[in-house]
Symmetry: C2
Subunit: 490 residues, 2 copies
């Protein structure tokens, strides 16, 4: 039996609106990609206007009264499973978008732009006082926004988390991040004793050749991918058949291999969402932490494996830089504590996130005032990582997130590491160890398993239910601890 | 005295709406540029959806009731000169956009997409019958649209002309294109006798080096320009500080130099519009024919000059291809009649346009039926150019325009040649002969003159008034005839 005529009309109208919102989102992605990869530097001011126009129209469409009308008509209607998910997530998105007053959203956008601008200068000059007023404004606005979004019993911070990971609770985070804070320090002490003194320095030309060859072996072909260079590597999905990743090259390291595998993981996730979800509200990754888990899976469990190092060393050698798989692997799993998050190794990295989580939770909760952030940062980094912070530029000014008003984003980086480890264990438990395949850079079985167990759902499952469905267990830290143990020689 | 409060509000609201329409237009340009230059081939379907969403929203904004409200409030208001132009052109655009019913516009868009698709296959198979139904549909829809747009006393075709060249009349076209049909054939006979047997064939690498060097000498620097490669060269203006041109390279010719100068001319026009017009309805070129005149000026009067050939020959030689300025110049002004428009020389080119003008005027007017197009094409080409058409693929199927529903566009190509010659004469009359500067690729005085006399007006002046203002004369063919005479050895 097909649905009643009114239901059909409402569903068709809702889907048409959601398709337009999806198309506008894709256009926005393209503008941002172009800005970071192709745009001449003087085009920035025009681009801001173009992005602002799109954001305004997208917000207008996302909060349209008519969506509410369709949703009311579809309440309790007889729908199939996919339709029910579309309607459920549409209601969630629509209600969240409408809970934030337009003036507040506009003020947040301005504060974010201003904040990033002043942050950049403050970081250059190592001048926290210069940044403090912008940070205060961002904290106050984020708190206000969190209060608008909070559901029964939620704190403002928890409501902000839902921007990135719907359904995640502060209690979840305290449990897993608290566990990491307890377990990792001893492992780090051991690992530093086992790690080589310094990393590899590979000429850019050899890195380029190896990245191109490895990407080709992973199925990156030019009819549906682009691989470019940008200051900060990123991945973007413009639409079916149009995946774009970037990497960067530096003679002093071999980071391009890690970062291209990382971005490949993000891109593969978007590509492997069920095509039936294209241009609905369910396309794309379900959350920041699942997205990050997919990039970390390829970075930590593929690129940093001893087996895959053989394939990569072969390509670097073919590209003119003679290196053994053992030396390459040792360099990629080298552990060394440092004040800087973005260059941290897989073992110390999560503690950088624990620190940020503790601090931003206290900031939004009002227990930490902005003026005390530098001291609190130093104290936290000392406690968690036994690292001394010599300057705010290398400390609490190092990341862009808070300057842009993004609070609640950091945890997804650590959750990504944990989920990646748990997913990888489930994958190997079912497919068997991957060593043999990875030595030859054969990844089709991995791609297929990920599509089936993780990717295809898109936004139909939120973070926690998806982790349970894919791995058969709730999210925990054990798999991650088993992954990092060998780095500590255990 | 500043305007009354209601006037101020209406003007501010109108300008805000026009700015948004301009921003959306820029976004559309970027999507099209990306599609032709960067997009992986499989991204086409998603891109169509994205472009359709933008077109729908842009049409909605351009026809908004609220614009009518602002315009009514501003009727007879006390405005400065720029404001009066903004309001005048806003009324024109708004009324034209609203005269075409949304269903007709949507049907035209579909017919255009379908038409291009079937045209491509029909051209490959040299099968006009396959294309005929799509052409019939396009002609009927264009006629219907022309009838919606026609003002008092205008034919449907003349109304369509206004899409590309507002204010241009069929009588204007008959006068100038008729004059060309009369004068050019004898010149072509003479010129063919003087022309070298074959053109130059320059290796791609030398062309690349020369194009890069010449563009740099013309002020194309990477902070506000991009130069890329695409199948068909084009120019696009994404916004202030973001000009993008493309060229193409073929070992068998030296076309990349001409085409890059041509596209440079388009780009320079957009760049040199008064920045006070940015994000208003007056930014960008005023018409297709003025735009084409700016590209033709750089292609015909700079790139094809004996003086500039010295600069280009120097760069080709530096790029590894030894050539004399004389040989290069002779190759660039070589006249040879052919059935194909896009590769035609400056002397025969306008007659290709005269043929298309005669035929499309008759098609829209109903005097020519689609089934008779192939015969009419052959007869017209024989009469005007003394060229035999062996196949429809090399005849009436060669151009994309009619398949996309673009009728009234072709004339701008010929007008561009005429206007370029007339503008160049005015420029040299004022600045003196350019030979000495062009030998050294010094073009700043040309750029400055063009900015002052042509570019800065944007859409404030329509085609004919702008020609008169810039050159002191109404549009005619004499300057063009003086330009081509030397090609015929006269």
């Amino acid at each position: 039996m097909s649905p009643a005529p009114d239901t059909q009309t409402a569903l068709a109208s809702l889907r048409e609106r959601l398709a337009e919102i999806a198309d506008l989102g894709a256009v926005e992605m393209l503008l941002e990609w172009d800005q970071l990869v192709m745009m001449p530097s003087q085009g920035g001011e025009s681009r801001s206007h173009q992005l602002a126009a799109l954001a305004r129209i997208a917000h207008e469409r996302a909060t349209a009264e008519e969506i509410g009308g369709c949703l009311a008509e579809l309440e309790g209607a007889d729908l199939d499973e996919l339709e029910r998910d579309i309607v459920r997530v549409a209601r969630r998105d629509w209600e969240r978008a409408r809970r934030v007053p337009a003036e507040l959203a506009a003020e947040i956008a301005r504060a974010s732009a201003d904040g990033q601008e002043v942050w950049q200068r403050a970081r250059e000059r190592d001048d926290f006082a210069m940044f403090a007023p912008a940070l205060e404004r961002n904290v106050a606005l984020a708190r206000e926004r969190g209060e608008c979004l909070a559901e029964q019993g939620q704190s403002a911070y928890e409501a902000l988390l839902s921007d990135y990971d719907y359904g995640l609770t502060v209690a979840d985070l305290r449990r897993v991040l608290g566990g990491l804070a307890e377990q990792l320090p001893a492992l780090i002490d051991d690992a530093e004793r086992h790690s080589p003194e310094r990393g590899l320095a590979v000429p850019v030309e050899a890195q380029r050749a190896a990245v191109a060859a490895i990407m080709a072996r992973l199925g990156v072909e030019e009819s549906s991918w682009r691989v470019d260079v940008s200051t900060h590597p990123f991945s973007t999905w413009i639409g079916r058949g149009d995946s774009r990743i970037t990497t960067r090259y530096d003679d002093g390291d071999v980071e391009s291999l890690l970062s291209s595998l990382h971005e490949y993981g993000h891109a593969l996730y978007d590509r492997q969402v069920d095509s039936a979800l294209d241009r609905t509200n369910l396309a794309g990754g379900t959350s920041m932490s699942i997205h990050e888990s997919q990039s970390k899976l390829w970075e930590n469990h593929v690129a940093r494996s001893a087996a895959f190092a053989q394939a990569m060393a072969g390509e670097l050698t073919a590209g003119g830089f003679q290196v053994s798989a053992e030396d390459l692997h040792a360099s990629l799993v080298r552990v060394k504590r440092s004040p800087i998050r973005v260059s941290a190794d897989p073992l110390t990295y999560p503690l950088h996130i624990v620190a940020r989580f503790e601090l931003e939770l206290a900031l939004i909760g009002g227990e930490l005032v902005v003026a005390e952030v530098p001291d609190a940062w130093q104290e936290t980094m000392r406690r968690l990582l036994d690292v001394e912070i010599d300057s705010d530029a290398q400390g609490c000014l190092q990341d862009v997130h808070w300057s842009a008003g993004a609070f609640g984003y950091f945890p997804s980086y650590a959750l990504g590491c944990l989920i990646a480890a748990q997913v990888w264990e489930a994958l190997e438990a079912e497919l068997g160890p991957r060593e043999e395949d990875l030595r030859e850079a054969r990844v089709e079985p991995i791609q297929r398993w990920l599509r089936e167990r993780v990717h295809r759902y898109g936004r139909r499952l939120d973070t926690m239910p998806l982790v349970e469905r894919a791995t058969g267990k709730p999210l925990g830290i054990d798999a991650f601890l088993r992954y990092v143990a060998p780095l500590a020689g255990r």
